[in-house]
């Protein structure tokens, strides 16, 4: 055994290394004439990439708004200040930080965290303190059915997806008839996969397999082997980008080759095609926004304008996460101008009745607070690029079917 008698005092001085709390209070404007926005984001942990994109999105909007003197509140220009915290990809921490943003930092408007699960948790806090909250990246209907009056979400409901997908695939020749479903055991992937599964029955598909894999799965070979033996026409996989890169890789290795592979939500990110190269080709997915959509509105301009700014700043193709985040700011911006006040109840009333066009698409909230003006587009990766297949009025490509 080791000699443990000698104790080294250096060990005690190393304790501060441990302390890694990141509190980022950006761009403090000293005057009282500011509107304070607060966001707890997953800046570290498994969702770090998404969290960073959210932050980059808000900043693009904030810079544009402030460069024009701020938001016009009843004739007086007020600058925008943002307070960010890192919730380390842990939802319970997000709720604590949201509470801190409201009680300590006294933010006027709360911006949502990443994804449906964390948003649902944080929305309860906003509701309790009666602070308007705008959620950029929560699309599951179950987030908006709690009767909350202070929550508004930018993404079109998940329910918009099945009709678009099945309208597209049922017109194909030869017509696909069977489907297999596999999902990460997590709030959003499970919700969207089960919704598609339910809808598939309505459209007459045979359901040959359903399975869930755990959150930090490092091997997808077993369920892929089973899927291969069931030989479905369509394979749908729900998960996040890390899961879906691994699943796509292993599907290729094991020769799992259905006519359509549909994955949510990973192929929409540039890193998916970058990591997989040509293996990413002909994978289908869906997106709430793309720079190719002919959307246009006040503050930021067109979808292409936003994508240009993003490319210049971050040398990366913009996706819906960053766009929806900037759009959250735009919605708040337009609502505050309409209300002529930053008083919570007036802002809430203004957002509820908002009906406008933005670079992110039309915005109109239903009773639960979810944006039903927007669309979900179906796309396929071709030559490592996203090609929109549906809706036809914004499509710029034709589906490759069956996958070669």
């Amino acid at each position: 055994m080791m000699n443990r008698v000698a104790r080294n005092t250096l060990g005690f001085t190393l304790a501060p290394i441990f302390v890694a709390a990141i509190l980022m209070t950006a761009f403090t404007v000293q005057a009282a004439d500011v509107i304070k926005f607060g966001a707890a984001l997953p800046l570290t942990g498994p969702l770090a990439t998404e969290g960073k994109k959210q932050q980059n999105g808000f900043e693009i909007w904030r810079e544009i708004a402030n460069s024009r003197g701020g938001i016009n509140v009843g004739g007086k220009k007020m600058k925008v200040e943002m307070v960010y915290y890192d919730y380390e990809s842990k939802s319970p921490t997000a709720t604590k930080l949201a509470e801190r943003l409201i009680t300590k930092d006294k933010v006027d408007i709360l911006i949502g965290p990443f994804g449906s699960g964390a948003t649902k948790a944080v929305a309860a806090i906003a509701e309790r303190y009666k602070i308007p909250m705008i959620a950029p990246t929560a699309s599951s209907e179950a987030v908006y059915d709690q009767g909350y009056k202070h929550l508004f979400g930018l993404l079109a409901p998940n329910g918009f997806l099945p009709s678009g997908f099945f309208d597209t695939v049922t017109k194909l020749n030869p017509k696909p008839t069977s489907m297999a479903f596999v999902t990460r055991n997590d709030f959003f992937p499970k919700a969207i996969t089960n919704m598609m599964r339910k809808a598939s029955k309505k459209y007459g598909f045979t359901d040959v397999y359903y399975a869930e894999f755990p959150k930090d799965s490092k091997d997808m070979s077993t369920w892929l082997t089973v899927v291969k033996s069931k030989n479905p026409d369509i394979l749908m996989v729900g998960g996040y980008v890390g899961d879906l890169i691994l699943a796509t890789k292993q599907a290729k290795e094991l020769g799992v080759n259905p006519k359509i592979i549909f994955m949510m939500a990973g192929p929409v990110y540039q890193q998916y095609a970058d990591a997989l190269g040509d293996t990413s080709n002909n994978i289908m997915s869906a997106a709430w926004w793309s720079e190719t959509f002919n959307y246009k509105g006040r503050v930021i301009g067109t979808a292409a304008n936003f994508a240009d700014i993003w490319m210049k700043k971050h040398n990366q193709v913009a996706d819906y996460v960053g766009a929806a985040s900037a759009a959250s700011g735009v919605v708040a911006h337009l609502a505050i101008e309409k209300a002529g006040s930053i008083e919570a109840s007036k802002v809430i009333a203004a957002i509820s009745s908002l009906k406008t066009d933005t670079f992110f698409g039309p915005v109109e909230f239903n009773k639960g607070g979810q944006n039903i003006g927007s669309k979900i587009a179906i796309f396929q990766i071709q030559q490592r690029q996203r090609k929109t297949i549906y809706p036809l009025d914004i499509s710029d490509g034709k589906l490759v079917y069956p996958r070669p």
Partner: protein
């Protein structure tokens, strides 16, 4: 046929698990350090391979030795300069120290390389061949081979070479080893360096078979822990045994109970082994 395929998948996975865990087992067995940095070395080895491939088109099999050597030196100096300062302190102190270093490593990787998932996508990346209807993916076969090679190589090194014997001597009786002229500080640094080098080698191929990101290190660390305890601590072949058992349990468990329980079953085996045979399947014999 499906059973045979899953058996092959499991064995290949098990070999890869051995490659990941063997260095972790070495440091734990010799120095009684639960090395939280192990996953970080693996991640860094993966990034070296990724950047060499991405920027200069270097094949991962060629950059593998480079990843291993770079991680050896990084590990060597971390042990010599930092961990050796608290090596006589309690088990908990080295745990906290390596945890702190892990946080620094991951935050820096996030800062420099963002949280994006990266993967080495060579021409042969998705290639596989068939033997009697069973599909064998090339990259995973290579990872399996690497697992055998690293385990066998380490076994040979510890049994035959002078440094290997010195490592064992320090492990068995520190004072006697010192009296024989062994410098424990150097031996600890070498041991830690070898462990880090093994992780770097594994990371090189992991970056080809999986997607890596700064935050994936923890997942491989958790696997290493289970593999070492199941296989038997401080026993080099234990990593191979533990890896194979875990691969089989995870995959056949996923087949019979659903993939959702894949990871949970791994931990269930960990508990079972701790109850029935706390010293692990192959026991603690390796260093005596």
């Amino acid at each position: 046929m499906i059973y045979l395929q899953i058996l092959v998948n499991s064995v290949l996975l098990g070999g890869m698990y051995a490659a990941i865990a063997v260095g972790f087992s070495l440091v734990w067995g010799v120095m009684n350090i639960l090395n939280i940095l192990h996953g970080t070395f693996l991640m860094l080895g993966g990034y070296i391979t990724f950047w060499l491939f991405h920027l200069y088109g270097v094949d991962p099999f060629l950059s593998l030795p480079l990843s291993a050597v770079a991680m050896f030196f990084l590990g060597y100096f971390i042990q010599l300069g930092i961990i050796n300062q608290v090596i006589r302190a309690s088990f908990f102190m080295t745990l906290v120290l390596t945890f702190g270093l892990e946080l620094i490593g991951v935050k820096m990787a996030l800062f420099f390389w963002t949280g994006d998932y990266r993967s080495v996508q060579t021409e042969y990346a998705g290639y596989s061949f068939q033997v009697g209807g069973v599909v064998i993916p090339l990259v995973r076969l290579a990872l399996f081979g690497l697992g055998l090679l690293l385990t066998g190589g380490l076994f040979w090194f510890m049994a035959v070479t002078r440094t290997g014997r010195a490592i064992r001597a320090v492990r068995i009786d520190l004072e006697a080893a010192q009296l024989m002229g062994v410098n424990p500080a150097k031996i600890y640094a070498t041991t830690y360096g070898i462990s880090a080098g093994l992780a770097g080698a594994a990371g090189a191929l992991v970056s080809a078979g999986f997607a890596i990101s700064p935050v994936t290190d923890v997942e491989f660390l958790a696997k290493s822990f289970v593999i070492c305890v199941v296989g038997g601590l401080g026993n080099i072949t234990g990593a191979l045994a533990g890896g194979l058992v875990l691969g089989l349990v995870e995959n056949f468990g996923a087949l019979y109970f659903g993939p959702g329980l894949q990871n949970a079953l791994g931990y269930a085996v960990l508990l079972l082994v701790l109850f029935i045979r706390p010293s692990g399947l192959l026991g603690r014999a390796g260093y005596h």
